[in-house]
Symmetry: C2
Subunit: 329 residues, 2 copies
């Protein structure tokens, strides 16, 4: 991933924005890194404003906060003089406590009920609002805004990567629930799968179909590789175990999407994240599993599509928490 | 079930209502019968106004329509002279097409895309609005209005009976989806279960935990009974197979509720329907399965409670489609 927005036609060498433009400070806190950048009201990451710093389970609480401070401060320093900072959007790995602005990311065990929203608010000028939501919700807003789910009011955004997460827009508005944790599609179970999940569930989608879990399953069948990239290459070469592994995860994806559609009547599911690129066939297997729900046209109607966003998706989503506040609830 | 409202203090021998009261004509179309009655704006079925007629898979389309005509006409004839008919609410077995008012109940195969809403509209005075929704949504409105989910804005109502259905209220408003079929909790899958479902899914809650499916599983283990009532009696007597069967279905219920809560962050799930009364322990097993989701406080927080409604629930729910239109979306 480059440090500038790959889809932007502007030069990456200097910050630029339309005169007087309204910018959101977007912050994305994930399991391996925290990033910040400015996002325009057209859903574009402003070139030259993007900064990142590593996170992860080994870091202390102070180190994590220092990483956040570093990227926020560095991005703020790039605010064009003719731009207006209209708000801060923070997408965070979950679970979260939306009302109080607290985060408890599963893979950052030193942060439990950590007041990330207020800590970031202290870094920006007084009066600039800070909105914090789960990263899956932010990405869903981005798909709805400028991605693959434009024009639909009944959307699930998904990330299939180290974990499996997501978010919901129903009847044209975000659904975050009383605590802010709606959208945990990774912990919808898949019938016929008994893989134990770290959450305590059985056959949860994340326990079956995340990148690492898919590779681990392939390894148990004799696959010699250790990464999703190797699995992808083996799949493309027709390796039988790799094919079985990708098919298994794709079917689990489809089963969980069928369950979610049964429950909330989705129109479109947009899937991004590193492991979603393992093979286009992952989507085929998912669609096949959905198509087996022959009795329910309202289930088989759901469209499963690749993300319409670049790797800037999480930042665009965090920016959408500001620019698309009318869709938020 | 009696033909009058058991919770009403009024005499069942004659129709009565407060002077000038606003009444909804409530219609509930189910797999075994269709019922109609007037429901007050306090959520009470008006005594003496309730009528029913059998439905079921053996009946022709004309016979089904005649059954609907009969109960609607008979109830209309009981409208107190000092009451105002403010609307008609129809709760129907699904799937439905909410926008066009069509029904396609799974166990009434002669009705596919049947224009039930408009057929009922033709029976009532011009200008009286008719609102049609899935029965699971109607019952959820009733739980939210006068039942076990009062005071919560994040609710799933469920019926566990011949099938397993439900409905959702999220952020204080009903969620029905673009087609009207949100709430099909019976077709959320349960990890580790591979029971084939009539919908085409695997391990769907309905395929595991409906009354008939639970009895059938027990029979395969050697249970000699044939009904949910017999299973209930055997459970109460400590029969090992009956205990295993109720435990299995209760755990599946809990797993599906945990999945649903992961996805939409529920506060309370209210469960009614004939088989929900098989034993209070059904709820204990369901709660135990939810409690195993140890990593997610937002999942384990969900309260699973018995319905707060009498057997009038479906009619009260249909009435709520009129009286609680502000909660509808």
């Amino acid at each position: 991933m480059s440090s500038t927005a790959p889809q932007s036609p502007s030069s990456p060498s200097s910050p630029s924005s339309p005169s007087g433009s309204a910018l959101a400070l977007a912050v994305d806190l994930g399991g391996t890194k925290v990033e910040a950048a400015f996002v325009t009201d057209q859903g574009v990451v402003v070139p030259g404003t993007r900064h990142r710093s590593p996170t992860g389970p080994q870091r202390t609480s102070d180190e994590l906060q220092a990483a956040v401070d570093e990227v926020v401060t560095a991005t703020l320093a790039t605010l064009p003089t003719d731009a207006v900072l209209v708000g801060v959007g923070v997408g965070s790995a979950g679970p979260v406590d939306e009302e109080r602005g607290l985060v408890s990311p599963l893979n950052m065990p030193v942060w439990r009920g950590y007041p990330l929203r207020d800590r970031i608010a202290a870094l920006v000028p007084d009066g600039v609002p800070v909105t914090l939501r789960m990263d899956g919700l932010a990405i869903t807003l981005a798909e709805h805004w400028v991605g693959a789910a434009q024009g639909s009011d009944h959307v699930m955004g998904m990330i299939v990567s180290t974990g499996v997460g997501g978010g919901l827009i129903l009847h044209g508005r975000t659904v975050s629930g009383p605590t802010g944790n709606a959208g945990h599609i990774g912990h919808v179970e898949c019938g016929g799968f008994d893989d134990p999940c770290a959450c305590g569930g059985t056959g949860c989608l994340e326990a079956v179909a995340s990148g690492p879990k898919t590779v681990a399953w392939a390894q148990r069948q004799g696959f010699a590789g250790t990464t999703g990239e190797e699995l992808s290459a083996a799949y493309a070469a027709g390796d039988e175990i790799a094919v079985a592994a990708v098919r298994r995860s794709g079917r689990a994806l489809g089963q969980a999407i069928a369950a979610a559609t049964s429950l909330v009547d989705l129109e479109v599911v947009a899937i991004g994240g590193g492991f979603s690129h393992v093979s286009p066939d992952l989507f085929t297997y998912a669609r096949e599993a959905v198509a087996e729900r022959v009795e329910f046209g309202f289930v088989t109607k759901v469209r499963i599509v690749p993300t319409g966003l670049s790797q800037d998706g999480p930042l665009i989503g965090a920016g959408a928490l500001v620019h698309r506040a009318d869709v938020l609830r």
